[in-house]
C-alpha cells in the first residue's frame, strides 16, 4: 500500500524533505513508520515516539494500522499562539 508521509518543522529540517511516498506492507502502523524514521535519522533517536500523530489531517492513535492512500504526519511539539 502507498502512504504519503508529510514532514513539518523540525522533522522537515532533519529529513531534508517535505514529504515522501512510502510503499508499506499491509498491517503497518503509524508507530512502525516512526520507528523506521528513527532508524534512518540519528537526530530522532531518544524520542521513542512522536508526541502526536495525525492520519488524514486528524489526530490519531499511533498504533492505528494505516490504509492505502492515507496521509500520515508526525506532529512535533506545537507552538502556536
Amino acid at each position: 500500500m502507498k502512504v504519503r508521509l508529510l514532514f513539518f518543522a523540525v522533522l522537515r529540517d532533519v529529513t531534508g524533505k517535505r514529504d515522501d511516498l512510502l510503499d508499506l506492507p499491509d498491517g503497518t502502523s503509524a508507530d512502525d513508520v516512526w520507528r523506521r524514521l528513527c532508524d534512518q535519522h540519528a537526530a530522532l533517536r531518544g524520542y521513542s515516539r512522536p508526541p502526536m500523530t495525525a492520519i488524514n489531517e486528524s489526530y490519531a492513535d499511533p498504533e492505528q494500522v494505516l490504509r492505502d492512500g492515507d496521509e500520515l504526519a508526525f506532529i512535533p511539539p506545537v507552538a502556536g499562539g
Binding site: L6, F8, A9, V10, D13, G46, Y47, P51, A54, E57, S58, Y59, A73, I75, P76, P77, V78, A79, G80, G81
Partner: protein, 139 residues
C-alpha cells in the same frame, strides 16, 4: 472562514467582524513576538502550519469554546510566515453580553490553541535558530 493568514493582523477588523449589538464587552487578546525566550535573544520568528489540519483543529477549538460559553462570539486569526519583535502572531476576540464570560472564553481559546493546533515556530536570534518545543521534549 480561514483562521490563518500570511498578512499582518487587523485586530480592529476582527473585532468588527464579531461584536454584536447585544454585546456589552469584548476581550481582544494579541500574542506578540517578544525579544527573548528562555534566556536567549530573539530577533524574529518564522511560523508554519499543517494548513488544512490547522484550520480544522482551530475550528474544533472554537466549537468547544462556543459549547462552554454559548453566549460568547469568538473570532481567531493566526499569522504565519516571518514575524519580527512586536508583530502580532495571533488575535482572538471574544464578545459577550457580560465581561466575565468574555475573559474566560478568551483564556480557554488561547490555551487550547497552544495545545492542539499544528503550528510551529522557529526562533531566530544572534545565537542561531531553534524550533520551539523540540529541545525540551527531545531525549
Amino acid at each position: 472562514m480561514s483562521y490563518l493568514t500570511d498578512s499582518p493582523i487587523d485586530s480592529a477588523a476582527l473585532v468588527r467582524s464579531v461584536v454584536r449589538p447585544g454585546d456589552g464587552a469584548y476581550v481582544l487578546f494579541e500574542g506578540v513576538v517578544r525579544n527573548h525566550n528562555e534566556g536567549k535573544q530573539v530577533e524574529s520568528i518564522d511560523y508554519e502550519a499543517y494548513l488544512p489540519m490547522a484550520e480544522k483543529e482551530m475550528a474544533l477549538v472554537i466549537d468547544d469554546v462556543r459549547r462552554a460559553y454559548p453566549d460568547v462570539a469568538v473570532a481567531v486569526l493566526h499569522r504565519l510566515g516571518h514575524l519580527v519583535v512586536g508583530d502580532a502572531s495571533i488575535a482572538i476576540v471574544c464578545a459577550s453580553p457580560h465581561r466575565a464570560e468574555a475573559f474566560e472564553a478568551c483564556r480557554m481559546t488561547i490555551d487550547r490553541i497552544k495545545q492542539t493546533v499544528p503550528i510551529w515556530k522557529k526562533e531566530r536570534g544572534p545565537d542561531g535558530e531553534e524550533w520551539v518545543g523540540w529541545q525540551c521534549t527531545h531525549g
